[in-house]
Symmetry: C2
Subunit: 376 residues, 2 copies
């Protein structure tokens, strides 16, 4: 994987860049729609391409390992062939999911023993097995197996957890380096910075991660409940250490405001379930602000969902119609709102990129945070 840093903003740390993977280019900053179980929920693959203009999507190792399972994945020829998305794919390592299982998982130096949330069957993820699984899934970018410490988290736990994550990273890299892609194209591995909200731990972790000289680097363990200011502060000193000539991925973030602020701090890649999950609950992110489409006030608003944004879902359907569908629990409601929200998220990072290239990012960002976060 190649990364070209195309421009750095003068008034902020925002960057425009270009990543080149075996499945195509990605212009950064970028938002990656989450396709947990080999599908971005309620969205057709052609809608990802034609409407949302997604450049890279996420898959999830934990979910894909359980269903459809590695046998099917391998016989399909990997995730790209299985779901028909031919652009770049990044797979989350499954670490976050297995740690979320809480009562049905056990962490040790070896790895994590857990029970499937589907049928209770017992499994073991180790740094090595997670590399092997992601080889079989065949994502372009695969993530290291880490422990995502909870928030709040005491210093001792955070330190021990981070140190184990580092040892796991070494094991991940060893395994990754001694194996090859299954389907004739190159994969790359991103390590993950941990250390909870402790500055010295985060710095130590960022230094350790930076030393590995991987093609890109990720920041994990944020947006897990800590105040936004704490998150921004952490990003700032971690990014001072992570190499400038590699893309930086902030995992699981966030609101339009979070994304814009993190771009200003030098983040290049994002993923979050928010645009799709909130869509299914009737919450719309628009160019003019946030809409709870269940509200009575939209019942006779026959104007498009978001005329400024443009695109099919956002301009063909009216707010009143979408509200009706949501109130009736119609599947089409989830479809329209998901395509709309993802179109908005991709528009937002695309606009950020344009303004970085144009040199007026900071002014634009400050106005856009206000505009997009107000409640309509």
């Amino acid at each position: 994987m190649k990364y070209e840093l195309q421009k750095t903003d003068i008034l902020s740390k925002a960057r425009a860049g270009k990543m080149t993977t075996a499945h195509g280019e990605i212009l950064t900053p970028i938002f990656m729609p989450v396709g947990t179980a080999a599908t971005v929920k309620a969205v057709h693959q052609r809608e990802l391409v034609n409407d949302i203009k997604a450049q890279i999507i996420l898959g999830n190792t934990y979910h894909l390992y359980l269903r459809p399972g590695l046998d099917i994945m391998e016989r399909a020829g990997g995730l790209h062939k299985f779901n028909g998305w031919s652009g770049p794919i990044l797979t989350d390592s499954g670490g976050y999911q297995v740690f979320s299982l809480k009562d049905i998982r056990k962490i040790s130096e070896e790895g994590v023993k857990f029970q499937s949330h589907i049928d209770g069957s017992r499994h073991l993820f180790t740094p090595e097995s997670v590399m092997d699984i992601q080889r079989v899934i065949g994502a372009d970018i695969i993530m290291a197996f880490d422990e995502c410490a909870p928030y709040p988290c005491d210093y001792t736990y955070a330190q021990k957890s981070m140190e184990m994550t580092h040892r796991w990273l070494t094991r991940c890299i060893n395994r990754f380096d001694s194996t090859e892609g299954r389907y004739g194209f190159e994969q790359t591995l991103f390590p993950i910075v941990q250390g909870s909200t402790y500055k010295d731990l985060r710095i130590k972790s960022a230094e350790f991660v930076a030393e590995q000289n991987c093609d890109g680097n990720a920041i994990g363990g944020l947006a897990v409940g800590e105040p936004a200011e704490k998150m921004y502060e952490t990003i700032e000193y971690v990014n001072d250490i992570l190499p400038k000539d590699k893309p930086r991925y902030l995992m699981g973030v966030g609101t339009p405001e979070n994304i814009l602020e993190a771009i200003a701090l030098g983040i290049d890649m994002f993923d979050c379930v928010m645009p799709t999950r909130n869509a299914r609950n009737g919450m719309l992110f628009t160019t003019q602000g946030i809409i709870n489409i269940r509200n009575e006030k939209w019942k006779d608003d026959f104007s498009p969902i978001d005329e400024t944004l443009g695109g099919y879902a956002s301009t063909f359907y009216s707010r009143a119609y979408l509200r009706h569908l949501v109130k009736c629990d119609e599947i089409l409601a989830a479809q329209i709102a998901s395509v709309h929200n993802l179109t908005f998220y991709l528009w937002l990072v695309g606009q950020a990129r344009e303004h970085i290239l144009a040199g007026d990012f900071l002014t634009w960002k400050n106005a856009m945070v206000k505009q997009t976060m107000q409640r309509l």
Copy 2:
């Protein structure tokens, strides 16, 4: 509304025709996707046009009356404006739905008192109010308010029910004739033949309906549990009475076999929830036969859902992928299967039309019934 009978098959009673409504032409025989609550479930409006090639869709008076309600419907400018489907629309009268409510409705000469399945609120449908409601919804074709007798049904009940349906029809026609469309285009009213499975009642009802000289005629009260042979027999003698120069609509039918057999008996229009409802349960109708996509056997079948059928949903996605989505209860499963099944249903009636025009309908029909009804 105009209807042109273009060709009648020599070896069967199958017909090819063309209906012209204020919202466009409909080539018959035709299948109408069911859009109960102003949406064909799990299907985008542009997919109805571009992928499924729907020519007319259904709306449901009962559902639309309750949600979004007549106030919103009228302010939207009718159903076409509300949901963005600009082709012809037919609305079911709500009769079938309110009779299905069983314990929470009461039938009298005046009409039907019922409680909403949503909030228990009390309402009254009369032949007159149902005409008024359908004026507000603004469908191109509106249906008379009838009682759909259950099956089995004793002769006395069937007769009384039919006679009331006839008196209601007179009231419907009177009300319809003394009112006008709300949105500047012409609507038309179809009466409905009832009479359960009693030949003399059906003949009497068909004669009464035919006498009304409406633009089209419907047969109701079939496919409610009676044997298929009984249904075909009934269609046969009813169609001998219904005028040849008007389209004939068989309500709520059915499987590919039912549709093909009914076309052979001179039916021109169909609607049924089967392609969409069964899609949501993982049952696919294909050009080669019926697939239960949940079956283990499809787990590693990476071939398209239906290559012969063509189209996006049926050729882009594999059977293995769709099975995975169904097993995971993913929304995309319902989307793919619904678009596929409806594409197949429209293909089926389109092919029937081609073969009627080509003069080899009967041979084709007999082969196609076998082919499409076999379990794969």
